[in-house]
């Protein structure tokens, strides 16, 4: 039985939130380049570039032993929860040193040591799994909360509703984080869900189960962070599940390193969302929050300078992870079927 963690939920400093967003941005951009240029990461990859505030704002409000389960778009949450970068990159390269030993690929990341429980490729699955994990932890007297990230598209799966209902009945300490980026691959929300009029939408569907739900700007990392702190407090107080619908936008194509601007998505729309870049907004917010915001001194770097410094640092970190992954061994074919089954049921 896990030991209840009684420390207060952390309040993250704006700089810490920004730094983590920059890290994820840099790592993903670097990986995208390698992915495209070398074709050595043989695993379909869904980048979160542009959506970093969701993972960072949420995970910064979690304790290390709180758990995260995600869908296919998993890198950002994995990193934000503290997942090992070299393990992730080695996984993308299919190496034995990968976080899933090269068996799972981009959509099946896991780092249990930091509470990143797992990601899965079939839409909606982890919504139910996270619900069950939180239910089990609560039954065992733990104060851990469980978070699951998924998209607007996954909310159309019946299992989302079945899970919400169950969580509401059993007051399960689970936080459902819907990253609403308005697309499912190329399909806009308007083709898949009724037009949003007052009292309708994903958040309202959750409320119809009596679940506390908030919809907010998912590119404002501070807002996301604060909302998540409300959510964790709610869950830990035994008040049941919580829903956060975070409006955001993905910059790259659905799967892979390219861009779909002007193909699947209109250019003006993309442009507008590039303006709302979570990193740039975080940078501006940090700058504004500095005591001497108006007159930067030579001693104190500006927020932009900080970001530039981090940028270099993290790109370097990413490239080192890539180099390590390349150097690492592949699993050997003689171990092909290992791990399909656990230990035998009975020794006999």
């Amino acid at each position: 039985m896990p030991i209840p963690n009684t420390t207060e939920d952390p309040v993250a400093h704006p700089a810490a939130l920004l730094r983590e967003m920059v890290r994820i941005r840099c790592v993903e951009e670097e990986l995208a380049d390698f992915y495209r240029d070398e074709q050595e990461m043989r695993t379909p990859v869904h980048f979160s570039v542009g959506q970093e505030a969701a993972a960072v704002g949420v995970c910064a409000a979690l304790r290390e032993n709180d758990l995260v389960y995600t869908g296919h778009r998993s890198h950002a949450a994995y990193l934000a929860k503290g997942g090992d970068l070299t393990g992730m990159v080695a996984e993308l390269y299919g190496k034995e040193t990968g976080c899933s030993n090269g068996r799972g690929g981009s959509v099946h990341l896991t780092d249990r040591s930091v509470g990143f429980a797992g990601s899965a490729a079939i839409l909606g699955e982890m919504i139910s799994v996270a619900t069950g994990a939180a239910w089990a932890l609560a039954q065992q007297g733990s104060s851990q909360v469980v978070v699951t990230f998924f998209g607007d598209g996954a909310s159309e799966e019946g299992v989302f509703h079945e899970s919400l209902n169950f969580a509401a009945v059993h007051r399960v300490p689970v936080i459902y984080v819907c990253e609403n980026n308005a697309y499912s691959i190329s399909s806009p929300l308007s083709a898949r869900q009724p037009a949003n009029s007052p009292g309708t939408g994903i958040t309202e569907r959750a409320r119809a189960y009596g679940i506390t739900a908030e919809r907010l700007d998912g590119n404002d990392v501070a807002l996301v962070h604060e909302a998540t702190r409300r959510a964790t407090a709610h869950c830990r107080a035994g008040l049941g599940p919580y829903v956060l619908e975070l409006d955001t936008y993905r910059w790259r194509e659905h799967v892979g390193p390219g861009f779909d601007t002007g193909i699947d998505r209109p250019e003006p729309e993309v442009e507008q969302w590039l303006e709302r870049c979570p990193v740039r907004r975080g940078t501006a917010a940090l700058q504004a929050s500095a005591p001497d915001a108006q007159e930067p001194t030579a001693q104190e770097p500006t927020a932009e300078e900080l970001v530039a410094r981090w940028d270099a640092e993290f790109r370097d970190e990413a490239r080192r992870a890539v180099a390590a992954a390349k150097a690492a061994p592949y699993p050997t074919a003689d171990r092909l079927t290992d791990g399909a089954y656990g230990r035998p049921a009975v020794a006999n």
Binding site: R103, A120, I122, V129, A130
Partner: protein
């Protein structure tokens, strides 16, 4: 020590004992807590452990499967009960795409040992969507154990093994077996997956079966014994892993084999048994393999059609006679194992 229990009592007892031994086990399913309690199988557990560990669930098969997988991932051992296996199609994504692959997909760091029981309906006009045997359907996928116990002792023993396994398990139970009695050990003694059982020795022909068909095979064997034909009955018990050796040893001895099953022939249990023989010991066959299964149509409701639909002792006996070439003998009509039953389910 053992005494006589019915099949359902054996499951009920095994559930209670397993829950006593392991506080992480919980039962989840629709109406598991009511006075009927899944045909009696979950009621004693509810009486003993209450609503915290015997949980009535909403009608949400997909999420409930996923929720139990999540619970298994975080230290519990959920036993999910479906009063009809047919409902498990709705849980199939969770069971196949998640549970069966979990350990492998995440690099062998741990599994999600959820156990799912599904009851197979039969007779009384259960009809097309309440009487499907899905053991071969689930048995196709690596990463699961699948069993279909025939006797009360195995029903308890395989459940015990399932609840100790590190691997997710699907158990198929034919509803017609529930009133059947047999010796059952008092203790919770796991029956290992992958180990079949020679239900009856014989020399002329082997019948390979699982679940209810083991009993129909034994009745066919009784009948044919009186005609001087000696039938060996192999109860595979476990569908995955499958005890190929036991099957092949028997067929190598008798040279003739009938596979009797409640799943359809095509891509079903009987196909795999025949394939194992064709792969390993085709030279031992003195006659073609015979399959006794439902015909290629959904289960009908009307009584005479139902009788014709379900594989039976009489059909098994006829197939055995065909194989041994005893033309003169005719098989009397036999009523089904569950003939004493007065409905409704």
């Amino acid at each position: 020590m053992s005494r006589t229990l019915t099949y359902w009592q054996a499951i009920a007892e095994g559930t209670v004992q397993a829950m006593e031994a392991d506080p992480s086990i919980l039962v989840a399913g629709q109406n598991v807590d009511d006075h009927k309690g899944s045909y009696g199988t979950t009621r004693p557990a509810f009486e003993r452990f209450g609503a915290r560990r015997v949980v009535d669930t909403p009608n949400s098969e997909n999420a409930v499967a996923g929720i139990c997988i999540g619970a298994a991932d975080q230290g519990l051992r959920p036993l999910v009960v479906h009063t009809r296996a047919d409902f498990m199609f709705l849980a199939m994504d969770a069971m196949i795409n998640l549970a069966s692959k979990w350990r492998y997909m995440y690099g062998d760091k741990g599994g999600v040992p959820v156990v799912m029981r599904g009851v197979v309906g039969r007779g009384w006009g259960q009809g097309a969507t309440h009487s499907q045997s899905l053991h071969a359907t689930f048995g196709h996928f690596p990463g699961l154990y699948v069993a279909a116990p025939a006797s009360p002792a195995d029903a308890k023993g395989l459940l015990a093994a399932a609840l100790q396994a590190d691997t997710p398990v699907v158990l198929m139970e034919n509803r017609s077996l529930y009133p059947i009695e047999g010796e059952v050990p008092e203790e919770l003694t796991p029956v290992p997956f992958g180990v079949g059982r020679l239900a009856r020795h014989g020399t002329d022909v082997t019948v390979v079966a699982a679940s209810l068909m083991v009993h129909e095979a034994e009745r066919a064997a009784d009948l044919l014994a009186r005609q001087g034909v000696s039938v060996e009955v192999v109860d595979v018990r476990s569908i995955r892993p499958l005890d190929e050796d036991l099957i092949c040893e028997s067929v190598a001895r008798t040279g003739r084999v009938v596979v009797a099953d409640t799943s359809w022939a095509r891509y079903g249990f009987s196909a795999e048994v025949a394939a194992v023989i064709a792969e390993r010991i085709p030279g031992e066959l003195r006659a073609p393999v015979r399959r006794i299964t439902p015909p290629d149509c959904p289960a009908p409701v009307s009584w005479p059609l139902e009788e014709a639909f379900h594989p039976s002792a009489a059909k098994i006996a006829e197939a055995c006679l065909d194989l041994v070439g005893s033309d003169g003998i005719t098989v009397p009509v036999l009523t089904g194992v569950d003939a004493g039953f007065s409905g409704p389910y």
